[in-house]
């Protein structure tokens, strides 16, 4: 499970994958600027083993110069068409001399070419094969004024390189190469095992090939300028027929491989997350088993974190508050952590935070902290509802309550501060309580409210 990522950035990879709202301006920004400045990855040119169709040369060049691999591949193919296929041997030379990118351990790979220098038998074989092909092509060229041979000349070099690559590539690349040419092998090996469809395909492409070459070779005798075009079309059709399924298979394998890799990375991320949070908490709980309150608090905090990660896609430790619902969950988190009282939160609807909703949130926070400190209740419930015309938050406990008409001065101050805050922003706060009956603070704020202007006199006695 290697991690193909910038080493300066590892902890935040995870957020990109899972965090649907994974915005991390503080950490993301420098990296992005860096990328814009020199589009490439800044590293040396390396073949990319994870994103390859052939040798990973195109992907390597793409990563090096900061293009998309597909663009580079298309440029390769187009260049090959217009350069009489001379790009192809260059591709193979690149495969030979560019080292593969190192894996996660950072160990540098040597290029295949370096290893091939010591493979004298391989070199001999390659030279022999290439010269054999060269002689054959020379003869063919002499026989029909070289019209076709010129396209095949570069492939002498390619064959030379391919032999060296095949003999000297590391095990993994060899396997990939074998996988790549396996269907081609069946072209000349598997006569007996061919399916009927394959046979038909071969027959049809054979006829097309013969017809096409015949047409092409008869061009000097022909009269029409269109003749070569028709010949090319026939040959192209034959090649598509012959190699089409093979290409499809390569493309499909590539997709499957990428999916498997994505799954593996996902699993690694989950394992890392579970290790960092859940296992750590379980260890802590074991160590503090003699303190039930602490255990409950730990379990509660862990449950909340896990939930927000699993069901809301929020990475742990993300404290950006952008909406009312997030703000209420923030209150829950703080109060549970600081006062050790569980807070049950239910939110209905959501709205973005503006100045007034922020004030409402602050008042709700104050009411919740108040309940946690004074009520003695075992649980506090916070209910937030956003309706088209208003936003309401109710904070309720079943604690000891108080008589609103006969409250000690310090508690009145708190209640007034909540009330004053709401009134300043055009809303209102209602405190219902009776001794032994618990307390309920209901905060409402009209939506698109204008600020309420002056605080009424009674709001002035806040502490």
């Amino acid at each position: 499970m290697q991690e193909p990522s910038e080493p300066s950035w590892p902890p935040f990879r995870f957020h990109d994958r899972f965090g649907r709202r994974g915005r991390h301006p503080h950490t993301d920004f420098p990296a992005r600027i860096q990328r814009l400045r020199n589009r490439g990855n800044g590293g040396p040119l390396r073949r990319d083993p994870d994103d390859r169709l052939g040798g990973g040369v195109a992907a390597g060049v793409a990563a090096w110069r900061g293009f998309s691999p597909t663009t580079v591949r298309i440029v390769f193919v187009v260049a090959a068409l217009f350069s009489q296929a001379w790009v192809v041997p260059f591709y193979f030379i690149g495969w030979l001399v560019i080292p593969e990118r190192g894996d996660a351990t950072g160990a540098e790979q040597t290029s295949i070419g370096v290893r091939a220098r010591h493979d004298s038998r391989g070199v001999a074989l390659a030279v022999a094969l290439a010269s054999l092909l060269a002689v054959f092509l020379l003869l063919a060229g002499v026989l029909n004024d070289g019209a076709i041979a010129i396209y095949i000349w570069p492939q002498v070099v390619s064959v030379f390189c391919l032999v060296l690559i095949y003999r000297n590539a590391p095990e993994r690349e060899q396997a990939a190469l074998r996988h790549l040419i396996q269907p081609l092998e069946s072209l000349w090996v598997g006569g007996g095992t061919m399916g009927r469809g394959t046979k038909l395909r071969f027959a049809a492409s054979g006829v097309l090939l013969v017809a096409g070459f015949g047409w092409l070779l008869s061009q000097h005798a022909g009269i029409a300028l269109l003749a070569p075009l028709g010949g090319f079309l026939l040959v192209a059709a034959a090649i598509v027929l012959l190699l089409g399924p093979w290409w499809l298979r390569i493309a499909r394998d590539l997709v499957l491989e990428r999916q498997a890799r994505a799954r593996a990375e996902e699993r690694a991320d989950i394992a890392a997350r579970v290790h960092d949070s859940v296992l750590q908490t379980l260890a802590l709980i074991q160590r503090r088993a003699d303190d039930p309150a602490a255990v409950v608090q730990l379990a509660r905090a862990q449950e909340r974190e896990l939930r927000s990660w699993l069901f809301e896609g929020r990475p742990p430790g993300d404290t950006d508050v952008a909406s009312l619902a997030e703000g209420v969950r923030g209150i829950q988190r703080d109060v549970e952590a600081r006062h050790g009282v569980p807070v049950e939160v239910v939110t209905v609807g959501d709205c973005p935070l503006d100045e007034h909703v922020s004030a409402l949130l602050a008042a709700a926070g104050e009411a919740t902290v108040n309940a946690a400190k004074w009520s003695g209740a075992s649980v506090i419930s916070v209910f937030a509802e956003v309706e088209p015309d208003k936003v309401a938050v109710a904070v309720r406990d079943r604690g000891k309550g108080f008589d609103p008409d006969a409250v000690p001065a310090d508690r009145k101050g708190v209640a007034e501060s909540i009330r004053g805050r709401m009134v300043r922003h055009g809303g209102k706060a209602v405190v219902q309580s009776a001794p032994g009956e618990g307390t309920k603070v209901t905060l409402t704020l009209p939506r698109a409210a204008k600020p309420g202007g002056q605080v009424p006199p009674m709001g002035g006695q806040r502490r």
Binding site: L310, V346, V348, F383, R396, R398
Partner: protein, 222 residues
Amino acid sequence: MSAQAAAPPRVVLVDDHGLFRSGVRAELGRQVEVVGEAEDVAPAIELIARVVPDVVLVDVHLPGGGGQAVIAAVVRDHPQVRFLALSASDAPEDVIAVIRAGARGYVTKTISTADLADAIRRVADGDAVFSHRLAGFVLDAFASAPTAPDVKPSFDPELDQLTNREREVLRLIAQGYTYREIARELFISAKTVESHVSSVLRKLQLSSRHQLTRWAAERRLT
């Protein structure tokens, strides 16, 4: 079917965690009579058809189709069997899907033993049991714009919205009020509160509101 005050309801536990089943069995003690346990969908269906309990406590997440598969398979032949869904997750699509499959209530696994026993008794009596989170979901689902234009409205348009009273009741449930507290707060009888909640449950199961059908569809339940 009303359970007599003396006879504890007969209960079947369906959960794939053996530890959880034995925990619930031990905690509930004599308050209910546990007549069977199952840990998978197929054995559960077979067991329920055989013992015909009053209440089935069913986990939302079961291997082989989830709690809703059990409910869907049983309700047709044994409409008298009531289901109370239990889950560790609060994802709305899970909750709404089991309710629409026919569960009479939904509670989270963190519920206290006393509350769970109370919920089982209430479901056995034919009432609906809403956790505070479920109340929140329902308000959410019925709050936004009515039905999407591409969804044909229910044969009964009343099913697609809540009355003000139902809304008030749900709000109080979402704040952790008990039925008795709600009755006192709204100056109505506890029986009336129960009938409001049952009516909400019926709407939840039959409405074609976009939100609900979407949530249900996410769990392949139409």
